[in-house]
Amino acid sequence: MTEPDLAAIWVYLSATPLLGLTATLLAYTLAYRLYLAGGSHPLLHPVVTAVGGLIVFLLISDTPYQVYFEGGQFVHFLLGPATVALAIPLYQQYANLRRLWLPLLVALLVGVSVGALSAVLIARVLGSSLQTQLSLAPKSVTAPVAMGISEQIGGLPSLTAVLVVVTGIIGAILGGRLFSLMRIRDDAIKGVAMGVAAHGIGTARAFQLSAKMGAFSGLAMALSAFVTALLLPGLLGMLGLL
Protein backbone atom coordinates (compact mmCIF):
# COMPACT_ATOMS: atom_id res chain seq x y z
CA MET A 1 0.00 0.00 0.00
CA THR A 2 1.33 3.41 -0.89
CA GLU A 3 1.21 6.33 1.51
CA PRO A 4 -1.87 8.47 0.87
CA ASP A 5 -0.70 11.66 -0.71
CA LEU A 6 -1.94 14.37 1.67
CA ALA A 7 -0.88 17.12 -0.71
CA ALA A 8 -2.98 15.58 -3.49
CA ILE A 9 -6.00 15.33 -1.17
CA TRP A 10 -5.55 19.00 -0.24
CA VAL A 11 -5.38 19.96 -3.90
CA TYR A 12 -8.67 18.11 -4.43
CA LEU A 13 -10.35 19.72 -1.41
CA SER A 14 -9.25 23.22 -2.23
CA ALA A 15 -10.74 22.89 -5.71
CA THR A 16 -14.29 21.93 -4.61
CA PRO A 17 -16.92 24.06 -2.89
CA LEU A 18 -17.25 21.29 -0.29
CA LEU A 19 -14.49 22.60 1.95
CA GLY A 20 -15.67 26.21 2.06
CA LEU A 21 -19.27 25.21 2.69
CA THR A 22 -18.44 22.67 5.40
CA ALA A 23 -16.01 25.05 7.09
CA THR A 24 -18.68 27.79 7.15
CA LEU A 25 -21.31 25.58 8.76
CA LEU A 26 -18.83 24.00 11.17
CA ALA A 27 -17.43 27.36 12.26
CA TYR A 28 -20.92 28.76 12.78
CA THR A 29 -22.12 25.71 14.75
CA LEU A 30 -19.12 25.92 17.08
CA ALA A 31 -19.48 29.69 17.38
CA TYR A 32 -23.16 29.33 18.24
CA ARG A 33 -22.39 26.81 21.00
CA LEU A 34 -19.82 29.17 22.44
CA TYR A 35 -22.40 31.97 22.36
CA LEU A 36 -24.96 29.86 24.24
CA ALA A 37 -22.32 28.72 26.73
CA GLY A 38 -21.46 32.38 27.38
CA GLY A 39 -25.08 33.24 28.28
CA SER A 40 -25.80 34.86 24.86
CA HIS A 41 -23.52 37.81 25.59
CA PRO A 42 -23.48 40.19 22.58
CA LEU A 43 -19.66 40.24 22.56
CA LEU A 44 -19.70 36.50 21.83
CA HIS A 45 -22.02 36.99 18.87
CA PRO A 46 -21.56 33.93 16.61
CA VAL A 47 -20.82 36.06 13.54
CA VAL A 48 -17.77 37.56 15.24
CA THR A 49 -16.30 34.28 16.43
CA ALA A 50 -17.22 32.35 13.26
CA VAL A 51 -15.76 35.01 10.97
CA GLY A 52 -12.64 35.29 13.14
CA GLY A 53 -12.14 31.52 13.22
CA LEU A 54 -12.60 31.17 9.46
CA ILE A 55 -10.17 34.00 8.68
CA VAL A 56 -7.52 32.40 10.89
CA PHE A 57 -8.14 29.04 9.17
CA LEU A 58 -7.85 30.57 5.68
CA LEU A 59 -4.69 32.48 6.58
CA ILE A 60 -3.01 29.41 8.12
CA SER A 61 -3.98 27.14 5.21
CA ASP A 62 -3.01 29.91 2.75
CA THR A 63 -6.40 29.72 1.04
CA PRO A 64 -7.46 32.82 -0.93
CA TYR A 65 -10.89 34.28 -0.14
CA GLN A 66 -12.13 33.61 -3.68
CA VAL A 67 -11.47 29.87 -3.24
CA TYR A 68 -13.29 29.83 0.10
CA PHE A 69 -16.22 31.73 -1.41
CA GLU A 70 -16.76 28.98 -4.02
CA GLY A 71 -18.33 27.10 -1.11
CA GLY A 72 -19.45 30.07 0.96
CA GLN A 73 -21.62 31.39 -1.87
CA PHE A 74 -24.25 28.71 -1.26
CA VAL A 75 -24.87 30.12 2.21
CA HIS A 76 -24.44 33.70 0.98
CA PHE A 77 -27.11 33.18 -1.69
CA LEU A 78 -29.77 32.56 0.98
CA LEU A 79 -29.54 36.22 2.04
CA GLY A 80 -31.95 37.06 -0.82
CA PRO A 81 -34.82 34.74 0.14
CA ALA A 82 -34.16 35.57 3.83
CA THR A 83 -34.73 39.26 3.07
CA VAL A 84 -38.03 38.42 1.35
CA ALA A 85 -38.92 36.24 4.37
CA LEU A 86 -38.77 39.33 6.64
CA ALA A 87 -42.25 40.08 5.25
CA ILE A 88 -43.73 37.35 7.47
CA PRO A 89 -42.65 38.71 10.91
CA LEU A 90 -43.59 42.16 9.60
CA TYR A 91 -47.07 40.86 8.76
CA GLN A 92 -47.36 39.30 12.23
CA GLN A 93 -46.90 42.83 13.65
CA TYR A 94 -49.55 44.27 11.32
CA ALA A 95 -51.90 45.16 14.21
CA ASN A 96 -49.18 47.20 15.98
CA LEU A 97 -48.22 48.74 12.65
CA ARG A 98 -51.75 50.01 12.02
CA ARG A 99 -52.22 51.30 15.55
CA LEU A 100 -48.91 53.19 15.78
CA TRP A 101 -48.27 54.08 12.15
CA LEU A 102 -47.74 57.82 12.67
CA PRO A 103 -45.22 57.76 15.56
CA LEU A 104 -43.51 54.82 13.82
CA LEU A 105 -43.27 56.65 10.53
CA VAL A 106 -41.76 59.77 12.12
CA ALA A 107 -39.33 57.73 14.24
CA LEU A 108 -38.27 55.73 11.17
CA LEU A 109 -37.71 58.72 8.89
CA VAL A 110 -35.76 60.59 11.57
CA GLY A 111 -33.85 57.53 12.82
CA VAL A 112 -32.88 56.24 9.39
CA SER A 113 -31.68 59.65 8.15
CA VAL A 114 -29.76 60.47 11.33
CA GLY A 115 -28.31 56.95 11.44
CA ALA A 116 -26.87 57.07 7.95
CA LEU A 117 -25.82 60.73 7.86
CA SER A 118 -24.18 60.74 11.30
CA ALA A 119 -22.05 57.71 10.42
CA VAL A 120 -20.97 59.20 7.10
CA LEU A 121 -20.26 62.67 8.49
CA ILE A 122 -18.32 61.46 11.56
CA ALA A 123 -16.20 59.18 9.38
CA ARG A 124 -15.64 62.01 6.92
CA VAL A 125 -14.56 64.47 9.63
CA LEU A 126 -12.15 61.83 10.97
CA GLY A 127 -10.64 61.43 7.51
CA SER A 128 -12.04 58.11 6.27
CA SER A 129 -11.88 57.35 2.55
CA LEU A 130 -15.00 57.86 0.43
CA GLN A 131 -15.49 54.12 -0.07
CA THR A 132 -15.39 53.55 3.68
CA GLN A 133 -17.95 56.34 4.21
CA LEU A 134 -20.26 54.73 1.63
CA SER A 135 -19.79 51.30 3.23
CA LEU A 136 -20.72 52.84 6.61
CA ALA A 137 -23.94 54.50 5.40
CA PRO A 138 -26.24 51.43 5.63
CA LYS A 139 -24.64 50.15 8.88
CA SER A 140 -27.88 50.16 10.93
CA VAL A 141 -29.83 47.98 8.48
CA THR A 142 -30.12 44.21 8.63
CA ALA A 143 -27.09 42.68 6.86
CA PRO A 144 -28.66 41.21 3.70
CA VAL A 145 -30.31 44.53 2.85
CA ALA A 146 -27.30 46.61 3.96
CA MET A 147 -25.03 44.66 1.62
CA GLY A 148 -27.44 45.13 -1.26
CA ILE A 149 -27.56 48.88 -0.59
CA SER A 150 -23.79 49.11 -0.16
CA GLU A 151 -23.24 47.48 -3.53
CA GLN A 152 -25.73 49.83 -5.16
CA ILE A 153 -24.19 53.05 -3.81
CA GLY A 154 -20.59 52.02 -4.51
CA GLY A 155 -19.47 50.79 -1.08
CA LEU A 156 -17.80 47.46 -0.30
CA PRO A 157 -20.50 44.89 0.61
CA SER A 158 -18.10 42.68 2.58
CA LEU A 159 -16.86 45.63 4.65
CA THR A 160 -20.48 46.68 5.19
CA ALA A 161 -21.33 43.17 6.46
CA VAL A 162 -18.71 43.52 9.19
CA LEU A 163 -19.69 47.10 10.07
CA VAL A 164 -23.33 46.02 10.36
CA VAL A 165 -22.42 43.29 12.83
CA VAL A 166 -20.27 45.63 14.94
CA THR A 167 -23.10 48.21 14.93
CA GLY A 168 -25.54 45.57 16.15
CA ILE A 169 -23.21 44.55 18.96
CA ILE A 170 -22.70 48.18 20.07
CA GLY A 171 -26.47 48.72 20.12
CA ALA A 172 -27.16 45.47 21.94
CA ILE A 173 -24.59 46.21 24.66
CA LEU A 174 -25.24 49.93 25.21
CA GLY A 175 -28.97 50.18 24.37
CA GLY A 176 -30.25 49.25 27.82
CA ARG A 177 -28.00 51.79 29.54
CA LEU A 178 -28.90 54.55 27.10
CA PHE A 179 -32.63 53.97 27.61
CA SER A 180 -32.33 54.15 31.40
CA LEU A 181 -30.22 57.33 31.08
CA MET A 182 -32.97 58.82 28.90
CA ARG A 183 -35.58 57.52 31.41
CA ILE A 184 -37.58 55.70 28.74
CA ARG A 185 -39.91 53.10 30.24
CA ASP A 186 -42.14 52.24 27.28
CA ASP A 187 -40.98 48.91 25.81
CA ALA A 188 -42.50 49.82 22.44
CA ILE A 189 -40.26 52.91 22.13
CA LYS A 190 -37.17 51.04 23.36
CA GLY A 191 -37.85 48.27 20.84
CA VAL A 192 -38.28 50.65 17.91
CA ALA A 193 -35.05 52.50 18.77
CA MET A 194 -33.20 49.20 19.08
CA GLY A 195 -34.53 47.87 15.77
CA VAL A 196 -33.79 51.07 13.82
CA ALA A 197 -30.25 51.45 15.21
CA ALA A 198 -29.13 47.86 15.73
CA HIS A 199 -31.23 45.59 13.42
CA GLY A 200 -31.30 41.82 14.12
CA ILE A 201 -28.58 41.70 16.78
CA GLY A 202 -30.36 44.46 18.71
CA THR A 203 -33.65 42.62 18.18
CA ALA A 204 -32.23 39.41 19.62
CA ARG A 205 -31.11 41.41 22.67
CA ALA A 206 -34.52 43.13 22.89
CA PHE A 207 -36.26 39.73 23.03
CA GLN A 208 -34.06 38.83 26.03
CA LEU A 209 -35.31 41.96 27.83
CA SER A 210 -39.04 41.66 27.01
CA ALA A 211 -41.28 40.05 24.39
CA LYS A 212 -42.95 43.38 23.64
CA MET A 213 -39.61 45.13 23.12
CA GLY A 214 -38.51 42.28 20.83
CA ALA A 215 -41.66 42.41 18.72
CA PHE A 216 -41.35 46.17 18.20
CA SER A 217 -37.64 45.87 17.48
CA GLY A 218 -38.35 43.27 14.79
CA LEU A 219 -41.03 45.47 13.29
CA ALA A 220 -38.74 48.52 13.24
CA MET A 221 -35.90 46.48 11.76
CA ALA A 222 -38.00 45.28 8.81
CA LEU A 223 -39.46 48.75 8.17
CA SER A 224 -36.14 50.55 8.42
CA ALA A 225 -34.62 48.14 5.90
CA PHE A 226 -37.20 49.31 3.42
CA VAL A 227 -37.04 53.00 4.32
CA THR A 228 -33.22 53.02 4.18
CA ALA A 229 -33.18 51.34 0.77
CA LEU A 230 -35.54 54.05 -0.53
CA LEU A 231 -34.01 57.10 1.19
CA LEU A 232 -30.28 56.47 1.24
CA PRO A 233 -29.39 57.17 -2.40
CA GLY A 234 -31.19 60.54 -2.15
CA LEU A 235 -29.62 61.44 1.20
CA LEU A 236 -26.12 60.69 -0.04
CA GLY A 237 -26.87 62.61 -3.21
CA MET A 238 -27.64 65.67 -1.05
CA LEU A 239 -24.22 65.31 0.55
CA GLY A 240 -22.71 65.21 -2.91
CA LEU A 241 -21.33 61.70 -2.34
CA LEU A 242 -23.09 60.03 -5.26
Partner: protein, 124 residues
Protein backbone atom coordinates in the same frame (compact mmCIF):
# COMPACT_ATOMS: atom_id res chain seq x y z
CA UNK B 1 -42.97 19.67 1.19
CA UNK B 2 -44.10 22.60 3.34
CA UNK B 3 -40.57 24.03 3.58
CA UNK B 4 -39.98 23.55 -0.16
CA UNK B 5 -43.27 25.23 -1.10
CA UNK B 6 -42.47 28.17 1.15
CA UNK B 7 -38.93 28.51 -0.15
CA UNK B 8 -40.16 28.37 -3.75
CA UNK B 9 -42.62 31.17 -3.03
CA UNK B 10 -39.87 33.28 -1.41
CA UNK B 11 -37.63 32.74 -4.46
CA UNK B 12 -40.46 33.69 -6.82
CA UNK B 13 -41.02 36.97 -4.96
CA UNK B 14 -37.26 37.62 -4.99
CA UNK B 15 -37.12 36.91 -8.71
CA UNK B 16 -40.04 39.24 -9.46
CA UNK B 17 -38.42 41.86 -7.20
CA UNK B 18 -35.05 41.59 -8.96
CA UNK B 19 -36.62 41.82 -12.42
CA UNK B 20 -38.89 44.74 -11.41
CA UNK B 21 -36.11 46.93 -9.96
CA UNK B 22 -34.16 46.45 -13.18
CA UNK B 23 -37.10 47.10 -15.49
CA UNK B 24 -38.33 50.12 -13.52
CA UNK B 25 -34.80 51.26 -12.51
CA UNK B 26 -35.76 51.70 -8.83
CA UNK B 27 -32.71 52.23 -6.55
CA UNK B 28 -33.79 49.48 -4.09
CA UNK B 29 -32.27 45.99 -3.80
CA UNK B 30 -34.50 43.42 -5.55
CA UNK B 31 -35.15 41.27 -2.43
CA UNK B 32 -36.35 44.39 -0.53
CA UNK B 33 -38.99 45.03 -3.20
CA UNK B 34 -39.82 41.31 -3.04
CA UNK B 35 -40.30 41.66 0.73
CA UNK B 36 -42.68 44.59 0.26
CA UNK B 37 -44.69 42.75 -2.41
CA UNK B 38 -44.97 39.65 -0.21
CA UNK B 39 -46.06 41.82 2.74
CA UNK B 40 -48.75 43.50 0.63
CA UNK B 41 -49.90 40.09 -0.63
CA UNK B 42 -50.28 38.88 2.97
CA UNK B 43 -52.18 42.03 3.96
CA UNK B 44 -54.58 41.66 1.00
CA UNK B 45 -55.00 37.95 1.64
CA UNK B 46 -55.54 38.49 5.35
CA UNK B 47 -53.39 35.58 6.57
CA UNK B 48 -50.03 33.84 6.16
CA UNK B 49 -49.63 30.13 5.30
CA UNK B 50 -47.94 27.16 6.99
CA UNK B 51 -45.43 26.78 4.17
CA UNK B 52 -44.41 30.47 4.32
CA UNK B 53 -44.19 30.40 8.12
CA UNK B 54 -42.03 27.26 8.02
CA UNK B 55 -39.68 28.57 5.33
CA UNK B 56 -39.30 32.01 6.90
CA UNK B 57 -38.66 30.78 10.43
CA UNK B 58 -36.19 28.25 9.00
CA UNK B 59 -34.27 30.98 7.19
CA UNK B 60 -34.58 33.68 9.86
CA UNK B 61 -33.81 31.59 12.96
CA UNK B 62 -30.16 31.52 11.91
CA UNK B 63 -29.99 34.69 9.88
CA UNK B 64 -26.53 35.37 11.34
CA UNK B 65 -25.10 32.29 9.61
CA UNK B 66 -26.00 33.81 6.24
CA UNK B 67 -23.64 36.75 6.53
CA UNK B 68 -20.63 34.76 7.68
CA UNK B 69 -19.24 34.20 4.15
CA UNK B 70 -19.51 37.93 3.42
CA UNK B 71 -17.98 38.78 6.78
CA UNK B 72 -14.97 36.61 6.02
CA UNK B 73 -14.51 38.89 3.01
CA UNK B 74 -13.17 41.39 5.53
CA UNK B 75 -9.82 39.62 5.15
CA UNK B 76 -9.57 41.20 1.70
CA UNK B 77 -9.86 44.64 3.34
CA UNK B 78 -7.31 44.18 6.11
CA UNK B 79 -5.21 47.11 4.95
CA UNK B 80 -8.16 49.48 4.82
CA UNK B 81 -9.36 48.44 8.26
CA UNK B 82 -5.87 48.58 9.74
CA UNK B 83 -5.48 52.13 8.42
CA UNK B 84 -8.93 53.40 9.36
CA UNK B 85 -10.00 51.34 12.36
CA UNK B 86 -10.07 54.28 14.76
CA UNK B 87 -12.24 56.56 12.61
CA UNK B 88 -14.52 53.62 11.69
CA UNK B 89 -14.82 52.62 15.35
CA UNK B 90 -15.64 56.13 16.57
CA UNK B 91 -18.14 56.65 13.73
CA UNK B 92 -19.91 53.37 14.54
CA UNK B 93 -20.02 53.98 18.30
CA UNK B 94 -21.24 57.58 18.19
CA UNK B 95 -23.60 57.09 15.27
CA UNK B 96 -25.27 54.04 16.84
CA UNK B 97 -25.85 55.86 20.14
CA UNK B 98 -27.10 59.01 18.38
CA UNK B 99 -29.44 56.94 16.18
CA UNK B 100 -30.97 55.14 19.16
CA UNK B 101 -31.43 58.33 21.18
CA UNK B 102 -32.93 60.32 18.29
CA UNK B 103 -35.26 57.49 17.21
CA UNK B 104 -36.58 56.97 20.75
CA UNK B 105 -36.82 60.74 21.31
CA UNK B 106 -38.78 61.46 18.12
CA UNK B 107 -41.20 58.60 18.74
CA UNK B 108 -41.77 59.83 22.31
CA UNK B 109 -42.49 63.38 21.15
CA UNK B 110 -44.99 62.28 18.49
CA UNK B 111 -46.81 59.99 20.93
CA UNK B 112 -47.06 62.83 23.45
CA UNK B 113 -48.41 65.26 20.86
CA UNK B 114 -50.96 62.65 19.71
CA UNK B 115 -51.99 61.94 23.33
CA UNK B 116 -52.54 65.68 23.94
CA UNK B 117 -54.60 65.91 20.73
CA UNK B 118 -56.75 62.99 21.90
CA UNK B 119 -57.26 64.69 25.31
CA UNK B 120 -58.36 67.88 23.58
CA UNK B 121 -60.80 65.89 21.42
CA UNK B 122 -62.23 64.24 24.52
CA UNK B 123 -62.83 67.59 26.19
CA UNK B 124 -64.38 69.18 23.12
Amino acid sequence: MTFLNGLTLLLIYQLVGEVSVRLLQIPVPGPVLGMLMLFLTLVLRGRSSDSLDTASSGLLSHLSLLFVPAGVGMMVHFERIAGEWLSIGIALLLSTLITMAVTAGSMMVVQRVLAKGADADDRA
